[in-house]
Every structure is written in structure tokens, then in C-alpha cells.
Amino acid sequence: MKTLFRPLCLVLGVSLALASSARAQSPVQAQLEIKKESLLAAVRDQKTKKAQVQAVDLDLRAAPELYLLSIAFAQPRGIAVARELAKVVETARVDKQLGSGSSASGSTSVTEKGAVPEILAFAVENGALTKSQSGTTISFKGNPVGIVNSLIANSLPPTGPLSRLAFGLEFDASRGSDESQAPVFEGDPQQLSAFSVKYEILNHRDPDSRQFQERADRLYAEAKSGTTTSTRAINQTLTLYESDFARTMLEPAHRAAFDKWADAAATALDAAPEEQLMKVLDEQLALLPAQVPFTTEELARFDKYVEIYGRLLDSRDALLDLAGQGAVMSLEYVNSRPVDQPTESTFKWLYEWSALDGRMDVTANGLMTVLNGTIPDGTERFKSWAIAAQADFPLGSIRQGRTLIFSLSGRAEGTVIAPTNDRETIWLGQAKLTFPVKDAGMKLPLSLTVASRTDLIDETVVRGNIGLTFNLDSLLGM
């Protein structure tokens, strides 16, 4: 098993290194960088064809966003530009099960999410929900196709049936340690407490799905609330700025200066070696505001353009978040390996959907567990069943776009209680706060659980659990 753990760490390390190479930028700045890369792709294409880079390749009508944003960010800071530069890119999703399953010894989850990670998720959680013995569970959930894909430069997210398959490994770090010692994760075979396979049967949150695009079409022209405008209205305003910009720049006062700049910039790009292209483009764009005599009013409009562009990105994110709140349904098989007991097979059904216009995410689970192999006489093969439901409420941004999530969940579990072998139903209720951690794809779930009893003790139990989950998908912007 140590040989299994090491490749996992290697994959995690390599993927982290790839992810950390991305530079933090404000959302609008990130769009500007994409416009520059897009222009340079066209320049490289010209060079590949042995054709000279010409002023027409820098036509402002083809890329008004590039010039408007470049000029705005090159100018002394207007209010909108300064505000924009203070932002960081962040996303918040609540539909991925990153931590261990609900029955693991250190789980903080009563209900499990349906979506599978696209690359790799890692979690450490401490505590226990329905068991008298607490422990520390370290879980890895990965998508084999996604992991291979993440190691290939510039690859797009994988598609096809295999991309919906995920595996999971759970290690109970408290195994093999003295009770007096802190749990140590060794990746030892005896610490492997479960392995699992999960398959996403349907995912209407996938942009590829017809349901997603139909919702996006409908939501595009709708305002998100009574106090906001639609994404369409904001896009039309941006397009108007771009139309006005093209009109202004084609007037004699600006056209001659822009054409002169474009000639010089095209010559510089044509002469630049491949590795210097971005540097040369940055230098040339920095010269533009000095060479074209923009009025104070025009400069103010560039600043305003950045503000509206930021609103468009926010509105588009909200639109896609809403469009992405369709149903997700998965099936999962878990093979658990309790200490000194027969192994168990658990079959899970996981379903998730959105309610209250996206203000609440609802998850429902059903599962049953049977004992594997030869079992002692008098022992029932059917061990337990459980149903669970959870509602997640994003509480809004706590800082720089990071969303605090409040969750309420309940679970009923019918199980055989040792040593009498009587069947009992255990009831659980849980409140959980999940704190996002800045720019790291990490979340900190903090939960309080009340159980009607545990597997050994017929008394109400109140437990606090804390965990740490890490989702590589967030770092890679998936």
C-alpha cells in the first residue's frame, strides 16, 4: 500500500506545481491576458506561414476589448480599475463530495454529494458520527481520466463515459497506533479502511448537457433580482462602449495616431523572437495611451468600461451558476474493511438538485450495506440501511468572493446493534459550516452532530467534528 500512496502523492505534487504556476489576477485582468494570448496566437500563425505581421493584424475592430482594457489598465488608476485590481479569481461550488463518506470513522458528512471530482480531492477529517470509536480518516477521491489529463499540457477537460468514473481510497490513521499516540498516516494496508467506485449517471450541471444550455439561454435575458439588470443588458452596454470606441478611433483625430502605432507595433512583433512576443506586445500596448491623444472624458469612459466588464463577468458567473443547478445523480459502491470483522459492501444512490432559485442545494442519499464472504451463524448478511438528506445554503461572500456555506442535514440509519443483534434505528441531525480557505482549493468543514445513539452506546451523543478538504479542480479552474 505504501507503493500505492507514493504515486498518489507524486500526482498531487505535480498537479499542485502546475496549478501554482498560474499567476493570481483580477477577473478583468485575466480576460485581458486571454485577449493578448489570442492576438499572439494569430501573430504566431502569421509567422508560421512566413507572412509578415502587418498593421491590419492589429485592427482595433477585431479586438476592441484588448485595446479598451489595455488603455484602462495602463492609465493612472481610476476608481473602477483600482477596485478591479483588488479582486481575486475564486469560485465556490457545493456539489462535490470531497471528504470521506458518511460512515467513515472521522467523517464530517451525514449526507454525501453526487458529483465526482474532475481530478483529485483529498481530505483529512477527525471525529465520528454513528460510531463510539472516533478516528481520523484520510480520503483520496480521484478521477483516473482527469488525473492523466491534468498531466498533459494544455489539454481540455476530458469527456465521454469514463470521465464520469471516480475512485476513492480511505485510510483510518488511528489504526496501528497506540491510543496514547496521535494518529499517524503511514499508507499501510491495515490503515486502508475502504475503497470505492463512483459513477455519475446524469449531470445536468455539465455545460455539455442540453439542459444546461437551455437554462443558460433562458436566464441570459433575465435579471437575477429586482435590483439587477440582465446579463444581456450588461453585454449590450459593453458592446455600445466598443462601438463608440471604434467610431472614435476611426475619426481623423485618433486614426492617424493609431495607424502609426499599429505600424510600429506590427514591425516590433514581426521582429520579436517567440519567447519575447508577450514582452514586446506589453511594451507596445503600454505606448498606445501616450501616442493617441485621448481626452479626459475618453479616459473616464475607459475606467467605466472596466467597471462594466467586471459586472458582466459577475453576471455571467451568476448566470452559469444558476444554469448549473440542475440535477446530479450517481451510484457508488464502497468496500469497507472494518478491523477484525467481515468486509462490507455498501451500495449508494446519490441525488442532488437545486431549490429556491438556486439559494438552496438539496442532496438525498439512500444506501444499503451487506456483509461479504462467509459470515458466522446467526448473523444477518443484510447489515444496515440508511436514508439521508441535506440542504446547503450559501451565506454569501465572507471576503473576496469566498463563500461560507451553512448546511443542515438529517439521517436515519437502521442497523444491527451488537451484542444483542437487535435492529435499531439511529437518528442523526447535523449543522455544518464550511469555511473556504483563500486561493487554495481548500475548505474547512466544522460540524456539530446529534445522534440518538451510537453503535455501542444507547445514549444521545453530541459530537463536534472538524476537517480539511482539498480540491484540485478549484485550483485548475474547473
Binding site: 480576460q31 486571454i34 485592427d59 453585454n235 449590450q236 458592446t239
Partner: protein, 106 residues
Amino acid sequence: MKIHNDNSLDLSGKDGEVITVTVARSKAQVDLLLNGEPFEDETFKLDKSKSDPFFLAVGGVFTDRKKGEGAFSVSLSGNGITATRTATQFTPKEARRSFVFTIDIA
């Protein structure tokens, strides 16, 4: 209609000429503004008394942030000539793309 400098955004047409607009899109939403006003029709007539040149601005919002497969294209046709401009999402993180047709009136 004529295309200048092999640039599909640099156009000219005769006063009174009718231009047909065709929009195609996939995983994208597209808005058009003709001389600063929202344009949702299929044709417009060049009219020197209204504007010269005519500006048809196109702003497209990509609705795929996973694989970056958003794309849209706008074609202007007149007098047997068609000028087409296509925007293909450059990366999954690209949110939007715009371009502006100008049509000088002869």
C-alpha cells in the same frame, strides 16, 4: 457590398443597399448593435443620411466555462458578397468576445 484589405470587418456598400445579417452560435449568447442601437432584425438598409460609416458591433458571451467550446459567427451579405467573422472561445476561461463591422457608404 465590398470587402477591403481582405478584412471581413472593413466593408463598404452603396447607399440604399440592403445588407442581410446571419448569426450562428453554439454555447454562446450574441448581441448586435447597429449604430449604437440593439439590432435583432435580419436585414438593414445602408442610409448615408443616418450614418456613414455604419457600425455593426457584435458582443458574444460564452456559456461554456468548462471546455471552452463556445463559438459564434456573424455574416453580412449584400450584392452577392458575404463577409463572415467567427469568434471561437480561445480558452475555457474566456468569457466574452467582441468585434465591430464598419461599412463605408459609397
